[in-house]
């Protein structure tokens, strides 16, 4: 399990990184924390002549709030996990990260790497999708923004061009009373989810559901937004939402082409998704309305 030979580049700026990508075309690949890319290289499932290591580019690090919560792409997952700013501004992000693998992986793996890698079983892509995050991208010819809805195209495939770098992710900050919960079923602790749900709820002054975000992961070829579930609950009072939860959760399980694999069937994924949506939303609604679970 040794990777085929490659050249390792360690640019110090996004511009240099983008130039390297432009120069080497499809023989180059961005390397961040390496937690997904290195195993694939080692098993020779993929190969690149050039790895452009962005993990130490200073501009790609850091967490700021300025209306949105912005996390630099190369920020290690563990840094975001333990940052009080993240927990305060977008609790769903802080609650999702501990579900990523094991702490050793989160120490190395980056927020941007997780999103750019676009594994459908990953937590952060589903969170980004559910919260309408915006992905900031840079290439040799300039920068652009991609809405999360347009970003995830398939398993390990995104709207990023080969020579583009994900530079950061912006999550909208909700200011009302809110609750957030992540629930997943995995074969063992720390495994990729067979089915998972990231859910957040915001209540308005009248105790009605102002916003609700439900992202599913591990169930289809991309992360899935449970739009029907969200629509069923938006505007409802806490009591109405609670009463409608069971049906709304069933709707979530109908909203995707479930995958079959070694660990579970599509039917299993639907069954479990319904349950997870219900428990995650129950917890989120309770938290938002001040009920201690």
């Amino acid at each position: 399990m040794k990777a085929a030979p490659f050249d390792h580049h360690a640019p110090e700026s996004v511009a240099d990184a983008a130039a390297l990508l432009a120069e080497h075309g499809d023989e180059a690949k961005v390397l961040a924390g390496g937690q997904s890319l290195l195993p694939m290289l080692a098993m020779r499932l993929t190969r690149f002549e050039h790895l452009v290591d962005v993990s130490r580019v200073p501009e790609l690090h850091g967490i700021t709030t300025d209306g949105d919560l912005r996390i630099g792409a190369s920020t290690p997952q563990a840094v975001a996990e333990h940052d009080p700013v993240v927990a305060d501004a977008v609790p769903l992000v802080a609650r999702a990260i501990p579900h990523i693998g094991h702490f050793q992986i989160r120490n190395r793996g980056t927020v941007g790497g997780s999103i750019a890698h676009a594994d459908p079983a990953s937590e952060l892509p589903a969170v980004a999708l559910a919260l309408d995050a915006v992905l900031e991208v840079a290439g040799a010819t300039g920068t652009r923004e991609i809405a999360a809805t347009d970003f995830f195209e398939g398993t390990w495939s995104t709207a990023l061009a080969d020579d583009e770098i994900l530079t950061g992710v912006r999550f909208p900050v909700w200011t009302g009373r809110q609750g957030a919960a992540v629930r997943e079923v995995a074969r063992r602790s720390g495994d990729f989810a067979i089915a998972g749900v990231a859910a957040a709820v915001e209540l308005d002054a009248a105790d009605r559901v102002a916003r609700v975000a439900v992202g599913l992961f591990g169930v289809a070829s991309t992360p899935v937004r449970a739009s029907a579930t969200e629509a069923a609950l938006t505007g409802a009072s806490v009591a109405e939402a609670t009463a409608a939860l069971a049906d709304a959760a069933l709707a979530a399980a109908d909203g995707f082409d479930a995958v079959d694999d070694l660990h579970a069937t599509g039917a299993y994924r639907r069954r479990v998704t319904t349950h997870l949506v219900q428990t995650a939303l129950t917890a989120a609604i309770q938290e938002a309305s001040g009920v201690r679970a």
């Binding site: 990777a3 079923v185 074969r187 602790s189 299993y268």
Partner: protein
């Protein structure tokens, strides 16, 4: 100090600190990959990616042209110069046919992972680069990936040399008495029980460094192994280098679990290549190779039937067993065949039994030993017993109480010809169920069920054959030497790879020679320094090596006493040895230290000429038949009705391994074995598709339990003398045996609350959910 009986001694029976711990716990263990020898090359295998195919051609030219590549060897280079590849002096005489082993496939491949070429290069990375440039032109042929496929009429043959896929078929003649008992029984239960394929998965994969010196004719090998002496003989037969010119050494070994008991195919190829090229070669197996091609284990099925009377008393049994040997099993046919059937009655009175044992070959990775290689007897028996209990309408504990072999029944001859004595299955059944509060749990279970929750409890009761009297495996020698400075060295043919032998054998010597534990060092794993031994495996070290060590220590003590008697001018029978001093009994001031004894012996005029001057002795012990130990595992689980996930609650083991040398080590062995059984039932599964393509070749898909999934095991000890001089019994494998049915039965018990049944392992969330759905629950 107690030489006899059950009580603990000064050292024996104490949980002394392990001698291995300081280096292992601080990350200073030395494994094969930590060893570097001069001008060492590195190897990588080119392996078949088809389960069955004819080889049309192999083109190595591009690989050979790559910078840093020294050689690309195929079967044309190696097969003609290879001697026997059977890795044991006993296998050679086995009544079963051995798979047609060859170093590298030339005409055809027989499983995915079958080695076709060996690249030798300046680094492993270059060797892997070159391996990709070896082009093998295959013509795929039909493969058989399962027992059922291998048995089917007209199935393609895995080994045309055998003319059959069933090289062993051992049926008892039809027994009218058994048939009559079944015909008239109040209850008959029948069930096909399947034990799925899972693997030893040592943390350190296999590894070897082999160097051959053309001038001296010496073959020098570092090996990750459980048996360096057998490996040495194997390499000698393989290469033709005389055995006294082969040296095998091992350092620390990161687990073997049976996989490294016999020397594997791939290690042999590397040794042969080193001899052929006259260069030292290192090969460290990577994880994918280990999962794909090291050895696989379990993979059994049986049609099992029990006839019972109205109260649940077993009248007769039928056990029709098939064992999957894969393509190239390691160590004979890899498994244990008829031994599984012979052990099937286990700790129960089963008056009559009919059995049949078959071994089949499939186009899959070869079977190899794995902690309790025969364990399917326990899986099958304990699972069918729970099925029977439900059919009769009694509790699973009750059916065991009714049928268990009691102390009074012993010595007890099973209907399959095993003779059990000094075992305590009835006692351990009672203890384990008491510790877990079996009755209390039934009440808790009922209350939880009233709330809709599914809790279950399961029992696994078994008798473990240890220190088998099989050929060279039944004998061990130990050498103990009092060094000139007064410390003591023990030389053993054992090969510790997690069993704490440096600790336990030092305890035995400290006890029986009368020296402080700290002054004793144990040397193993170097064929130039240690006496021949069968290696560590088969739960043989404590009984066989332990008694040999005890004898050697006693003999050295006798010599020490003889010298001291001269020095102290006392009668030998008046002397006692303790704490490294020999003193006149009752007059402690009249004493000499062992160092003084050694000094006297090693200097001119130190002692009278007629006193023996060699403070060294060898003990040999030959096992007197099988030593049986036994245990009862009980565990509780909760099954999540929505997700099908199983959570283990409490886990209790009551075990009887005779007199314990070190209870901490015993408990560590139990805990580790349970981890593997829990893994087997709930997580681990090596999966092939119908064409023999492996689907679980990384840890992403082959799931080992982690510290989070493995329960803390509560252990109760029952101590019955083992019937040998030191009173011990082997126990290294049982943890991995009893745990399988205990966990399985607990889940089945929980599911039975809603009328759901599970048939097969592993009990994945999916399988549990499907069982619940099938029962409409």
């Amino acid at each position: 100090m107690s030489d006899h009986g059950i009580g603990a001694g000064r050292y024996v029976g104490q949980a002394v600190q392990r001698k291995e711990d300081p280096r292992l716990l601080t990350g200073h263990g030395r494994y094969v990959d930590d060893v570097t020898v001069p001008r060492m090359l590195h190897a990588a295998f080119v392996r078949s990616d088809l389960a069955a195919a004819t080889i049309r051609s192999i083109d190595v030219s591009e690989a050979l042209a790559l910078d840093g590549v020294v050689a690309v060897l195929t079967g044309h280079d190696l097969n003609g110069i290879a001697g026997s590849m059977q890795p044991s002096m006993n296998v050679e005489n086995s009544p079963f046919p051995c798979a047609p082993l060859r170093p590298l496939a030339v005409t055809d491949v027989r499983f995915v992972g079958d080695p076709v070429a060996l690249v030798v290069a300046e680094s492993r990375a270059v060797a892997e680069d070159a391996a990709e440039l070896v082009f093998v032109d295959y013509e795929p042929t039909p493969a058989v990936a399962t027992i059922e496929a291998a048995l089917a009429d007209g199935a393609p043959l895995v080994h045309p040399e055998f003319g059959t896929n069933v090289p062993v078929d051992f049926p008892m003649p039809a027994d009218p008495e058994v048939e009559a008992l079944f015909a008239s029984a109040a209850h008959v239960v029948e069930h096909r029980i399947v034990q799925h394929r899972y693997n030893p998965v040592p943390m350190e994969p296999r590894g070897v460094i082999a160097g051959y010196d053309n001038v001296t004719g010496e073959l020098d090998v570092w090996l990750s192994t459980q048996g360096p002496h057998e490996a040495r003989l194997t390499f000698s037969r393989l290469t033709g280098v005389p055995e006294q010119h082969v040296r095998v050494r091992m350092g620390d070994v990161g687990g073997g679990f049976g996989q490294k008991f016999f020397t594997g195919h791939d290690e042999q190829v590397v040794v042969l290549a080193a001899k052929h090229l006259g260069r030292a070669i290192k090969w460290i197996e990577d994880r994918r190779e280990n999962l794909l091609a090291a050895t696989h284990s379990r993979s059994d099925l049986a049609d099992v039937a029990l006839a019972l009377d109205a109260d649940g008393r077993i009248l007769a049994a039928k056990f029709d067993h098939v064992e999957d040997a894969g393509a190239f099993p390691v160590g004979g046919l890899g498994g244990v065949g008829p031994f599984v059937s012979m052990l099937f009655p286990g700790p129960y009175r089963i008056p009559k039994i009919w059995w049949r044992s078959r071994i089949v070959c499939t186009n899959t990775c070869g079977r190899g030993a794995y902690r309790g290689p025969w364990m399917f007897e326990t899986t099958a028996r304990e699972e069918i017993l729970d099925v029977a209990a439900r059919a009769v309408g009694i509790d699973p504990r009750e059916i065991r109480r009714i049928n268990v072999v009691a102390d009074d029944d012993q010595p007890y001859n099973t209907a399959t010809g095993m003779m059990f004595e000094r075992v305590t299955p009835a006692t351990t059944l009672e203890h384990a169920t008491q510790v877990i509060d079996y009755d209390g749990f039934r009440a808790t279970q009922a209350a939880a069920f009233a709330e809709g929750r599914l809790l279950g409890i399961g029992i696994g009761l078994y008798i473990e054959p240890t220190s088998s009297p099989a050929g060279s495996l039944g004998v061990e020698a130990a050498k103990v030497r009092l060094e000139p400075g007064g410390s003591v060295t023990v030389f053993l043919g054992t090969a510790a790879h997690g069993q704490s032998i440096e600790t336990t054998m030092a305890q035995v010597v400290a006890e029986h020679l009368g020296v402080p534990y700290e002054q004793v060092a144990v040397i193993q794993g170097d064929t130039d320094r240690t006496p021949f031994g069968g290696g560590t495996g088969g739960s043989r070290t404590a009984v066989i090596a332990g008694n040999a060590t005890r004898l050697a220590a006693q003999r050295v003590r006798e010599k020490v006493v003889e010298v001291a008697a001269h020095l102290l001018e006392a009668a030998p029978e008046d002397l006692e040895v303790a704490d490294g001093r020999v003193a006149v009994r009752g007059t402690p001031s009249r004493a000499v230290t062992l160092a003084e004894v050694a000094t006297a012996v090693h200097n001119v005029g130190g002692v009278a000429v007629d006193v023996p001057r060699v403070l060294e002795a060898t003990g040999r012990y030959e096992t007197q038949g099988m030593t049986w130990s036994n245990a009862c595992h009980v565990c509780t689980v909760e099954v999540d009705r929505v997700t099908g996930q199983v959570t283990i609650g409490r886990y209790v083991v009551s075990e009887d391994c005779g007199r314990m040398i070190n209870p901490m080590v015993v408990e560590g062995q139990v805990q580790g074995g349970v981890a593997q059984g829990v893994g087997g039932v709930l997580y681990e599964h090596f999966v092939y598709d119908d064409d023999g393509n492996p689907l679980t070749t990384t840890f992403l898909d082959y799931l080992l339990p982690t510290a989070v999934e493995v329960p803390r095991v509560e252990i109760d000890h029952v101590v019955t003398d083992g019937g040998n001089p030191s009173g011990v019994k082997g126990m290294g494998e049982g943890g991995a045996i009893g745990s399988v049915p205990a966990v399985f039965n607990a889940v089945a018990d929980a599911l039975s609350l809603v009328g759901a049944t599970v048939l097969d392992q592993p009990l994945t969330p999916l399988r549990v959910v499907e069982a619940l759905e099938a029962a409409g629950a």
